[in-house]
Symmetry: C2
Subunit: 212 residues, 2 copies
DNA sequence: ATCATATGGATATAAAAATATCTACATCTT
DNA sequence: AAGATGTAGATATTTTTATATCCATATGAT
């Protein structure tokens, strides 16, 4: 064992389950509860207790033998692991239906995300506010990003426009893109892209339906 | 080998990749192209060629040795596998921001889904049309489902309302629920539920960002 | 004080998914 | 006509992820 301890990588599946645990833990914490066992969490989340145990161990959640995991400490551990303990300034490109819906979703502040600006090219949208967020013209991307020190991009533009906007974002130094356009983006290796493809979920549902 | 050939189950990951292939294939088919190799598809989708090969083999896509997969036949194979070759009548419960955005998304008709009704409880929404879809009061769920022979439910209600609505849907005989509420639904085993949790994707992005 | 019990911790096993390797063959080039 | 090449097909291997098993321990009941 050398100086550089090999950091055990945490699986994508584990990461995707963490917000689910977090919601239940917030709830219980609100009721003043202090401890929760993996079996109790399992009942609420329908995730097997062994999986929960392993997930929470992986991120180093504090626990009490025989009694379960400490709720407050586990919340902190998850929030810290995800960086949700302080807000990242984000912006949205493409203020269409989906974009507007995301701007109206108040829950992001609990998830480390604060959307403080929006961009679009449609004249009837530019200059207005949507759910309290000002809509700039896309041409102003660079200046506003620098001025407001924005870090995370939420992409809700039509597919054909996505790669072009992405190139601009990369040129502006953006390192994280949450992409709702049904297009695989090409980016340098130091830029994180999270692809949301609504069709994948629908495909899963339809495949389930066909099997039954 | 007996009478009952064991149907090899197709992995969830494969199913989630199929729509991605489909988009590229539609595009190429539109240009009159007839054959596509897994390496070419790999370039476009950023999915490794071996994975593509295995996925397409799994659903029995037709191919030509040395030349690749037949585009038209592969489109048919994917559409057939997902049941996207004929439209399922669907409805949406909860015509808020997200619900309205989904109603405005025209792409579902290419994905076997036709949303023909919406439901809500807010008086200012009931009776109106959103993107051409009529909004009924939630109390009318049962009668409208039966009258219009609706099959698939899209749930975009607030979390606390989700389980109650689900119980009603199950009582109405609905067998497929696409759930956008951040709640795990309890349903009988013959009902398919697909959970969409926007927080999971955000968690993935934030975890990536922290690593870099 | 003693014992039963439910839990996290650690390890081992199994299952699923991704990746690599090799073969046969149809097409193209020469 | 002969050979090189890039492909699907089949199989094997590795990696990842999920699940099971056993153990030590803190808690609560007796």
């Amino acid at each position: 064992m050398g100086l550089f301890s090999k950091k055990k990588s945490i699986s994508v599946q584990t990461i995707r389950r963490l917000p689910q645990y977090l919601r239940v833990l917030y709830d219980w914490h609100g009721y003043g509860r202090e401890l929760a066992s993996s079996t109790e969490l399992a009942q609420e989340t329908q995730v097997p207790p062994i999986v929960i145990k392993k997930d929470l161990q992986a991120i180093g959640a504090p626990s009490k033998m025989r009694a379960g995991f400490k709720i407050k400490g586990t919340i902190s551990a998850i929030e810290n692991f995800l960086g949700w303990d302080n807000l990242n300034k984000a912006f949205l490109v493409g203020a269409g239906h989906l974009g507007a819906a995301l701007l109206g979703f108040s829950g992001f502040k609990n998830h480390g995300l604060e959307i403080v600006a929006a961009f679009d090219t449609h004249p009837e949208r530019v200059g207005n506010e949507i759910h309290g967020v000002h809509v700039y013209h896309t041409a102003q991307l660079k200046s506003v990003i620098e001025e407001k020190k924005l870090k995370i991009a939420v992409l809700t533009v039509p597919g054909p426009a996505a790669q072009g906007i992405t190139d601009t974002l990369v040129a502006c130094g953006i390192k994280a893109i949450w992409n709702f356009a049904p297009v695989k983006l090409a980016v340098p290796p130091d830029v994180a892209v999270q692809q949301e493809d609504i069709a994948s979920g629908l495909a899963e549902l339809c495949a389930q339906l066909k099997r039954k």
